[in-house]
């Protein structure tokens, strides 16, 4: 479904990701873990074409997207959704208008049908009856759930999640985790989730890939990652202090 081949990207001459090779299979949940600043979010932005790689190929749904223009990317994006780290809800629109945005832009559905989809998606994420609220009236967890409802409103094949549980309490994190799993089960979407919460990662992942220093250093199932002999992986998943190798410092040199 998604494949990255020798992908590299740099910002202002500084490499952020180097020679990334990664496959995401159809309908699987791939979780990307790694320390802050290691390039996890950049990887998601590459997959959805928000940034272009300096080298390598990115294949999404059988199409190479790294050289595509914005119009061609937009055709592909109609089958993709993304949940942003800070939700990125349109703050001038109500919850319902946010969820309906993609439907109104890209479909000819009647207003009645659109309202039905809004209600169904909001019910799915536990936000039934909240369509008239404005984003500034919502808590962080509610915003994340609306963001998910917006991402899945147009029945995407792929959903990307950028730190979906960041800044949330453990109970809300677990609710979001369950939503990610149930979205995959109910809609059959392929999911790529970026997180540094290991509990979330172990709860939802079919496979886990770890990024460190701009490279993927380990890929495997939850059990394989837990059994990994790589000291950096073990340090990260257990939150040990040593061996300390700050990803941010390494990227900046």
């Amino acid at each position: 479904m998604i494949e990255l081949k020798d992908v590299s990207i740099s910002f202002r001459g500084k490499p952020v990701l180097e020679n990334i090779n990664l496959q995401v299979h159809d309908k699987e949940v791939l979780v990307i873990i790694g320390p802050s600043g290691s390039g996890k979010s950049t990887l998601l932005r590459l997959i959805i074409g928000l940034v272009k790689p300096v080298a390598g190929e990115i294949w999404v749904d059988g199409q190479e997207i790294s050289r595509m223009d914005e119009d061609a990317l937009n055709v592909l994006r109609k089958h993709m959704g993304m949940v942003f780290q800070y939700s990125a809800l349109f703050d001038s629109m109500t919850v319902g208008e946010n969820v309906a945005f993609g439907l109104r832009q890209h479909t000819d559905l009647s207003e009645e049908e659109i309202q039905r989809i809004i209600r169904r998606r909001l019910r799915m994420v536990g936000m039934a009856g909240k369509e008239h609220l404005m984003p500034n009236e919502l808590s962080g967890g509610m915003k994340k759930r609306v963001s998910l409802a917006r991402a899945i409103a147009i029945n995407p094949k792929i959903v990307l999640y950028d730190e979906p549980t960041a800044g949330l309490d453990p109970i809300m994190s677990s609710i979001i985790d369950r939503l990610i799993v149930s979205t995959r089960r109910l809609m059959g979407v392929t999911s790529v989730v970026v997180t540094h919460h290991m509990t979330s990662a172990f709860n939802i992942a079919d496979r886990i890939a770890m990024i460190y220093g701009g490279r993927i250093i380990e890929t495997g199932t939850v059990e394989e990652i837990k059994q990994s002999q790589n000291p950096v992986v073990q340090q990260f998943i257990h939150g040990w202090k040593a061996p300390v190798l700050g990803a941010k410092r390494k990227v900046k040199t």
């Binding site: 914005e70 937009n74 994006r77 703050d91 001038s92």
Partner: protein
């Protein structure tokens, strides 16, 4: 020697940055014109109300007092030389050709340009622009096109109102302060002013509207670094728009009134 090199490097960097910005503004203008055909009437009307209609009170207030002070100054001098029969015409011509379009442009650069940049800049730093792109929506078509159309069509309308209110302000002062008769003032307008004085001002207003919208959107779309960046972009938008309005006004005056 090292200091000289540093100065030259600084100048070079400034020139390159400026040229780069000009190039990007040109590209944004081209993209906006390309997407004009996909303009949403609903969004455009909403922007017209927000950017145009809501600016009417401040524009009218500014131009009312400008017309009044213009008459105070002109009438005082003209009466001294026995040219009171020219006061109305001079005020009307100055209002139609220069004062109404330029002051409306400046007021709108401050009110409308700042609002555009602050809104789009906030969207940029909170990833809402990325969210638009992810949802297969072109930010230029969705955000810039309606604002450009709203500014280009609403500024001339504001200028029409400005001309009326400015002339009324001048009339009231001419009658009450300078002691001119109503007939002298109005007849002077009829004798001196021609339709081109008004239409030229409307053409200017359209150009100023375009400048305000494009610069406002450009500064918003290139905002970085959070709330501080939004503030910086907003200030930059107002300053750049006002400077460009004055520069464009000079060349438009040469072209329209030679």
């Amino acid at each position: 020697m090292a200091a000289l090199i540093a100065v030259l490097e600084g100048i070079g960097r400034y020139v390159i940055d400026s040229l780069e910005n000009i190039g990007r503004i040109m590209i944004l203008t081209g993209q906006t014109l390309f997407h004009l055909r996909s303009a949403s009437p609903r969004h455009t009307l909403r922007q017209m109300a927000h950017l145009g209609v809501d600016s009417l009170p401040i524009v009218l207030l500014t131009i009312l007092f400008t017309g009044m002070v213009m008459t105070v100054q002109t009438a005082h001098e003209f009466i001294k030389y026995g040219a009171q029969s020219s006061v109305g015409g001079v005020v009307a011509i100055a209002m139609g050709r220069e004062l109404a379009p330029v002051l409306t442009g400046v007021v709108c650069a401050g009110r409308v340009g700042a609002a555009i940049t602050a809104e789009i800049g906030s969207m940029k730093v909170t990833e809402q622009i990325d969210a638009l792109r992810v949802m297969a929506t072109n930010p230029v078509a969705y955000l810039v096109v309606p604002r450009l159309l709203a500014c280009v069509f609403m500024l001339p309308l504001l200028v029409v109102f400005a001309n009326v209110i400015g002339t009324i302000g001048g009339y009231l002062v001419a009658i009450s302060y300078a002691g001119l008769s109503s007939y002298t003032y109005l007849h002077s307008i009829k004798v001196f002013a021609v339709v081109n004085d008004l239409t030229g001002g409307l053409v200017k207003a359209m150009v100023f509207g375009g400048i305000i919208a494009i610069i406002g959107c450009y500064k918003g779309l290139t905002t970085t670094e959070g709330a501080e960046g939004v503030g910086r972009a907003t200030t930059g938008s107002v300053v750049t728009s006002i400077i460009l309005i004055f520069i464009a006004n000079y060349f438009l005056s040469l072209a329209l009134y030679r």
